[in-house]
Structures are given as C-alpha cells and as structure tokens.
Subunit: 480 residues, 2 copies
C-alpha cells in the first residue's frame, strides 16, 4: 500500500494549487513533456493517442459535410505571407524564419507556417477559374509554429498540432453558412464526444483572427473558473482571396470574387479535457475518446484460473469492439488501481477467484468510483451501457459547473466583485468600443470579452463600463 | 464523344514516353502539383486520400505489433544533429536552417527535421533508466524536409510525408528482430494491400542509411523496368544511442547500452502505385486502398426512375461498407467513363432503363475493362468478390512483369547487354568492394546494387566485375 499512496501523492491537490495540479497530471499520466527544443513539446504515446481519437471522430464529422483533406507545404515564402496586410501584421512577430537551404543562403526567406490561409489561396489562385471549380472545402491535419515566449503543456507551445480547414465559395451567403456550420460541428463534437459544455458566439473586433471579418468561437470553462477558447471558425469575406487575385467566371463569363472561410481546433483541447474532467487522482477521460475504455485487473492473479479467465474476458470485450487492455503485471492490485485512475481510463474490471466462482465481475467507474457487479454473461452489453452513462454524466456534471459559474453584472462594481468572489463567465452589456474592453480587463485583473452569443439577453440599456448605449451582451471571462 | 477523346488524349502513351506519361497522369488525376514553394508539393484531395488509406492500413499493422504513435518537434537544434558523426555527415548538406524566431536571431540554429533519430534518442536519454522502461516502440506520421535539387511528383521533393518508426531495446537480438519484423510488415503491406510485388534484402555498405549498421529494403519494379526503393528498416546497434548516453540498469543495477532501430515508408510509394499499375487511360488503383472503390454511373439519367434507382443502389452499397460515389452530373456517360478510368476507380457500375427492367446492373472492371452483368439482388456480395479478384489479379500481373524482368549475369558483357536489351533486376555475384559497385554503375549507365536477398543463389564463385572471390549475390538495377 506504500507504493499506492506514493502514486496519488505525486500530484498536488486540485484545490490547493490548480496550476501545479495540471502540470503534475500531465507528467504522471505521461501525456507530453518538454523537448530539448525550447518551447516545443514531445507528444508522448498516452497524449498522442487521445489526439488520434479526436482526429478520427472530428475527421468523420468533417467528411460528412463534404470536407476533403489535403497537405500543403510547411514553409511559406515571405512574399506570400505579405500579400494580405492585416494577416502579416498579426503573424510576422511570431514566426520562425528559414534562411538557409542545404549549404546555401536563400534568395527569399521562408517562414514555417503559423497558419496556412496564404498557401491555400495561392493554390486556388492558380487552379480556380470557373463556377464549376467551386466550392473548395479543404482541410489539413498538421503542426504549426508560433514563437511564443511562455509555454504550458498543450495550452501554449511554439509548435502545436491542429487541423486547419479552408474553403472558398461563389457567394457571401454560402461562405457565411459554412463558417457557421463548422462552428456548430465543433460545438457538437466538443459537447458530445469530449463531454465539455461550451458557451458560443462571435468574437468582438479586437479578439478576431488576423484578417478575418468575423470569428466564431466556442468557449469552455475549466474547473478553476477560467475560460479556454476551444475552437474558432472565421469568415473572411472576399478581402483575403481578392488579395491573391482569385476570381471565377460565372455561366455568362462574368468575373467575380470568391468568399473565404477557415476553421481550426488544436491540441489545446487536450488541456481542456484535463482541466474540465480531471480530479485529485489524475486524469478522467470521456469514454468516446479514451484510448483505453476499460482495463481488466485480475485479483489474486497467482491463483489457478484467474489469469486465464481475465485474459479470456479481455479477448471477448476486444472482439465486441471495446478498446480494452489487461494489467497482468506483478504490481499489487492497489497500485494497478491507482495507475488506471491516474491515466483516466473510464472503467476498470476487477476479476478474482470469488468473482469467477459467482460468474461475475466488478466494474468500477473512474468518474464516480461506483462499483457495479455484473454477471459474466451480460458484461459485453452492460459495459457499453456503463460507458454511455459515464459519458452522459460527465457532461451533466461539467454543465452544472458551467451553469453555476455564469453570472450577470450591470455595473462595474458588480463585475469586479463577481470576478473576485468566483471565477467563471459574467454576462454584461457592452457599447461596442475597444476602450471599454481594455478598461474592463484592467479593472477586473484580466477578464476579456469571450464572445457575443447567438441569443443575447437584454440585461440593461447601457454599457456596463462607460454607460453609453449598449450594442451587445457579451460573455466576459479570464482566459487561458 | 469529342470530349471523351480529349480526356484520354490529354495523357501521353505510356510506351511512347514513360516520364511524360507519369507527369500527365499525376496532373490529370489531380493527385498533386507543384506549390509556389520551390521543390515542395501540394498534396491535393485525390492524392492525399490515397495516402490516408495507406496510413490507416499500415498504422493498423504497426499497432498489431505493439507500436505506439507519438509526435516530436519539427525542428532539431544543430548541436543535437551533430551528436552522431556519420548521421550529420549524411544529412547536413541537405537540411534547411531556421536562424530567426519572431524578430530575433537565434543563439543556435535549428534545422527542419530531415529524419528524427536524434530527437527520439534525446527523449530517451532523459527518460529511460531501467530495464522496466524497455523496449520503446514508437512511430510518428509527419513530413520531413531534404533540400533536393531536382524534384518529381511523389518520387523526389523537398518536403514529403512519411512515417518514421524508432525503437530501442535491451538486447542486440531483440533490436535485430524488430528491424526484420518491420521490414516484413512493409513487404506484406505493399504486396497485399498495394498489389506490388517486391524483391527484398539488405543494402550494401555504400547504400546504407547514414549511421546505420544494417539497412533492409524492399524494392519494387516499375512498368518501365526501373527499380523503386519502397521502404527501409535500419538496425543501428548501439553506436547511435551510445552517442546520446542512453543506458539502462538491469535487475542487478548493472548499466548497459541499448540497441536501436528505425524504419520508414513515404509518399514515394504513391509513385510506385502509379508506375506499377497505371495504363494509357490513367491511374489504376488497388481496391484495398482506393479512396473510391466503385462509381455508380446512371445511363440515360433523364429517364424516369433511373436516378432514383442509381441513388438507392449507391446508398445500399455504402451501407454494405463499400467506398462508393455516384456521378449524376450533366456530363455524357462516355465522359464519365473516361473520368472514372483516369482516376483509377477500380470499378464502375452502369445502370440504365434496360438494366432496371432486367433487375440487373453492369459492373465494369477498371483493370481489364471486363463487363460483368450482375443481378440487382446479388450486387452487394458480388461487388466484394469482383474487388477481391481485381486486387488478386493486379498483383499477379505485376508479379509476372517482375519475374519476366529478373535475369542473371556472370560476366560484365552479359550485365551490360542485359541492361541495354531490357531494364529490370539483374542478379550477379559481388566481391563486397565499393569499387566494383562504382565500376558496374559506370559501365551499365547507372545500375546500382539494390539489395542482397535473404536467400542468395550461387551463380558463380567470383565477382561479376573484378573476378575476385564473390561474397554475395546482389540484385542490381537502375533506380528512381
């Protein structure tokens, strides 16, 4: 039992020091670590396997809407990056520059892609001529590089993994529709598969993506009450593609501009999974994206027949379509339990001599620790039901936490005291001016506008900050 | 019909100009094109979809052998790349250097990874301490960059996609076994899923990977008789990990070196698929990795009921697990046939008013153009049988071509005349000296040693080139 204690004690309590707890969980669950390359992460097997499942599920949702995957170069020539003014202003300060190839200095330097709008537009400028070539609905899974000064595992690092979707359309309406469609795909994916409830809406002018006309976002609330921007979908209008000279001919040979969108979700979302669901024993993974959904742990495995029966159980569950592993190592059951809990595996199945005698097993839920005795004859169907229940209840608990941390403010005093008392989202009216966003950030110690929701409440007629007529209701929060 | 002719005529005949045929097929099937970044490709939807299927199948084979996926940084510090002398000598001339990050010059420059042995060893040098930490069997799917001077679609480009597996083991034997195991995984995958027969064996000293002790290769024969190295598996012994100071403690706390392997397959293999199976009508894809396995083409689709029936057929086939699309565009059937053939879709299903009347459809094989009338009631099972037959016969045809292009030589005269008469592989004895490899290359106009097979024939006692005692039988060939 000494060892078991040690494993759990190796992580700080979540309520004592949330930041340290996060770092401890990432380390002990072996999700990622810092590489020898400053600011860059190694995505280790346990962390990368989560990303693989996210990829598989999200990619299928994309493809159902007609998305095609591609891969464009990792390097962007400086002249290409400079074609759209707002874009280069946003990204130039944080890119890495390639200046030498082989033994030679380059005539023009290349940056490592921080995002690929410019490359997609470059391809289309050479290949799109007619209305028959539209729309283009492309996506790539890749890594991007942004020269960040401070880094945290998954949340901020110089290189991170993501998908970036890019589309062009014949009409404004179709492009806008696609922007909103992908925003909804993200929301459904994050809520249904990751069990993370979100608030969602448009970004204010100051929080928009460099060069975008509109940015739609989904925002999740971490256990410590801070917000995490979890995915964004951008509508560019035609300014961006116009800068690249993309035009199409309609049926009567009239030339027109195209309308562009882009949308992305990154490995940051793994940070959200940890910070929404994790507890003092480690990670808690939603069953739908857990790399392992159940771990079979034999009890008194030296006794005759136990290991055979446990292995047969694993094989049967694997055959039934579950992601299942067995822990038949020489460690004590207690140590094995702690390890399974640290890794966030949604269930473990305990099977010992008495269970075998009674033709049963004990399923233990990771999220609630509830023990469920299941007949051996029913385990193949019951396990699926238990996993579905876990998925559903994980969402419900996170939703209750989110709802309990949304409040309203109609004065700055209220806003400041709300942010002092508890973290979370605060709904408040806003005049539309960036000066008030800056003022609110300063007075609350860092709360920024997170989004303008689709359905705005009318809390008051005036801006919470300056008292001038209000234009929108905004969700405010301190963000990662 | 004019249009139909145009599509086929847009590609050069394979026997007239093979290189031009290849370029034409890549362009007309829209697999990839040159990007605005010199020497780098855009992997377009049709080409990338093939890579996605290759990834899915090969990744499953990897995981069945216990491989875990990870992702390590895209950049390697120069000091890290320099840790193993042979390795840096092999790669330094062809890497791209990052010298600036954000607005600042870097203290140490980074190269964009040309391969990641150094990064994997760096991780392990910090995390592997005990025999309990071994083996590590890791892989990553990523892109790598090598500053090539001349480029060809898929076959040679500055950036390409690949997987690179890296492993370390407690014993020499276990590492050697893993090297051979992955070599066999590649062979089985390429033969079974891509329908490409190979010759396989070890590389000679001069053709080995930079820093490796042994390199195992699989070599495919293109339709023009040239060889293409299709995947390699390297055994490093302990020199490489020793350079990084990786040591493990055994049960008695004795310190030992570890033994390393690496193995990779890249998007080059798409070039092999094109050049082994393609014909004068375009691409021919093996059913197992074809992004679309059948395209339903309605005949006289304006007639009542045809489109409904064709769509219902597509839905039924999709439900039955096939990758299926319908072409219900306004183009003529002839044009649609040409397009399906150009894209290499393994079958098309023609369905018109007469077919509907007779409760049948016509399945047309892409590879042989054979037309098979199938009852509508049986199509769901019959299509699977037809696809399996195509897969099998594509391999058999490629195998017959390979076998017909393997000959033997016991003198330089024979070797030279064989390479003049026909391309292909020539088996000949070799003394083990690099000088003879150089001489053979010079005299045959470019034939290099491709591999020393597992089972060597004894063709003569002496080297085909210098007449000194022979050490090995070698497969020689002109390679891409």
């Amino acid at each position: 039992m000494a060892k078991e204690k040690k494993l759990v004690e190796s992580i700080t309590s979540r309520d004592v020091d949330f930041a340290q707890w996060y770092t401890d969980v990432v380390r002990e669950a072996k999700l990622c670590d810092y590489s020898g390359v400053k600011g860059c992460l190694n995505y280790l097997p346990n962390g990368y396997a989560i990303w693989e499942n996210i990829q598989a599920d999200l990619d299928q949702r994309f493809k159902e809407t007609g998305v095609e995957n591609v891969y464009l170069p990792v390097m962007i020539p400086e002249s290409l990056l400079q074609k759209e003014k707002d874009h280069i202003e946003g990204f130039a300060p944080e890119v890495a520059w390639v200046t030498h190839g082989g033994m030679e200095p380059l005539q023009e330097r290349f940056c490592i892609r921080p995002t690929s709008e410019t490359l997609f537009c470059d391809v289309w400028s050479k290949t799109v001529q007619s209305y028959r070539d539209l729309p283009k609905v492309w996506n790539q899974w890749c890594s991007v590089l942004r020269w960040e000064k401070t880094t945290r595992p998954f949340l901020r690092s110089r290189e991170f993994l993501w998908q970036e979707g890019h589309t062009i359309h014949a009409t404004y309406e179709e492009a806008e529709e696609r922007t909103v469609q992908m925003w909804r795909v993200y929301r459904d994916f994050v809520q249904d598969d990751l069990a993370i409830p979100v608030v969602s809406g448009r970004k204010t002018e100051s929080e928009k993506f460099a060069g975008a006309q509109d940015t739609y976002t989904i925002e999740a609330l971490m256990h410590d009450g801070k917000a995490l921007q979890s995915a964004t979908s951008h509508f560019f209008g035609n300014a961006f593609p116009d800068a690249f000279g993309i035009k199409y001919a309609d049926k009567n040979n009239g030339l027109h501009s195209v309308y562009e969108t882009s949308w992305g979700l990154s490995t940051r979302i793994i940070g959200a999974i940890i910070m929404v669901h994790g507890d003092d024993s480690g990670l808690v993974l939603p069953p739908r994206i857990a790399p392992v959904q159940t771990r079979v742990i034999p009890i008194a495995q030296h006794k005759e027949g136990v290991l055979d029966k446990a292995t047969a159980l694993m094989d049967a569950l694997k055959k039934a379509g579950y992601r299942v592993k067995i822990d038949d190592s020489e460690k004590s059951p207690g140590w094995k339990f702690s390890e399974q809990e640290m890794l966030g595996i949604p269930t473990r199945i305990e099977i010992g001599p008495k269970d075998i005698e009674n033709n049963q097993v004990v399923v233990v839920r990771r999220d609630t620790r509830e023990k469920i005795v299941v007949s051996m004859d029913e385990i193949e169907t019951k396990l699926g039901e238990i996993l579905e229940t876990i998925q559903k209840e994980m969402f419900e608990r996170a939703k209750a936490h989110l709802d309990a941390h949304i409040s309203e403010a109609t004065s700055m005093e209220e806003m400041i005291s709300e942010f002092q008392e508890k973290q979370g989202f605060i709904k408040a009216m806003w005049c539309g001016e960036e000066a008030c966003e800056d003022e609110i950030k300063a007075q609350t110690g860092g709360a920024s506008s997170r989004c303008i929701p689709e359905k705005e409440d009318h809390l008051s007629d005036v801006c919470v900050c300056c008292g001038k007529p209000a234009k929108h209701m905004v969700y405010w929060g301190k963000a990662y």
